[in-house]
Symmetry: C2
Subunit: 167 residues, 2 copies
DNA sequence: TATTGTTATACTCTATAACTATA
DNA sequence: TATAGTTATAGAGTATAACAATA
């Protein structure tokens, strides 16, 4: 029996293959989202909705545009997301009296209460996902990612209109 | 005039808001994928396809299942992806004589040649994305992410069938 | 004229189940 | 019976353009 192929296909164990950090990041991000979705679905929230609630609670009330930039989600897609949250009374939208084009978005009391339940589930997912890292390493990772996020500033598809480069 | 709201909504600059590492990871992964797509589209490759080619070149020929696990992509979705790559002669599929159920996937010569072009573009994207980090920090990030990837072992949606937990 | 939010739409990605051929 | 690959399909996510209200 040709052990060669068996070893190749079944290897799995310890391939020290170094893949580009970008692809690794993209892949882990997807895996993380999948786990969030799994853990949050019984509560009735999607990962993105949860992230929005967290951001609104910790960042305070803000316009939809500001929230969109913060979550790196397109403004048009944010509308539907907020509609869902609003229909369940987890957030509120009100016109900004200073600029009536704007909607000021805010977490409701009900949303805040739900967040405590959600936060526990989410923290559990993260704790499991980052199991290989000790506390110091998790802080280090968090710091590195935060700096990347702040610098990359995530041009967000909308903000790239009118540039000479493609896309 | 209510300066409160103006400051809140327009802040932008330096909010030291610490978001959960998981959501940060998911968000950056999406942003990274978007940039890959932008940079790779003129070449005619999608991020996932590029990742697959890289993995096949660096990991050697393997079965579709093994590739699916490596890329954390569902086996059924992998089929279409490989069909596209094969139709452009970038990879080849051949039956494994030892187990005729399996397809051994391999990068073609043409695929390898294309990869050198692609790698340059991808590296440029990454270099720009991780601009805030110096070389040591990039290595550190890569190491942390690699360890997470290896430990989390990414259960991949398919592998979770038959467990008592939901999802 | 530019910006905020909205709607509609097309496109991609992901998840699920059922089928086949091999084992 | 179980596994590798395939197909089909529904669902979630994403990108794009056009529009109304307001600045």
């Amino acid at each position: 029996m040709p052990a060669t192929i068996v070893e190749e296909t079944c290897s799995g164990a310890e391939q020290e293959l170094t893949q580009p950090a970008g692809f690794l990041l993209a892949q882990l991000g997807r895996a993380m989202t999948r786990r969030y979705r799994c853990a949050l679905s019984p509560i009735g929230l999607k990962p993105r909705e949860t992230h929005a609630l967290l951001r609104l609670r910790d960042g305070g009330a803000m316009s939809q545009q500001a929230l969109g930039v913060a979550l790196d989600i397109d403004a048009s897609n944010l509308v539907a997301l907020l509609n869902d949250l609003e229909s369940e009374s987890l957030i509120s939208r009100r016109r900004d009296p200073a600029d009536r084009r704007r909607h000021v978005v805010e977490v409701s009391k009900r949303g805040t209460k739900l967040l405590s339940e959600v936060e526990h589930a989410a923290a559990e997912v993260e704790d499991d996902f980052f199991d290989a890292l000790d506390d110091d390493e998790r802080v280090a990772l968090q710091g590195l990612l935060s700096r990347v996020a702040r610098s990359a500033d995530v041009p967000s598809p909308a903000e790239m209109a009118g540039e000479d480069s493609a896309c």
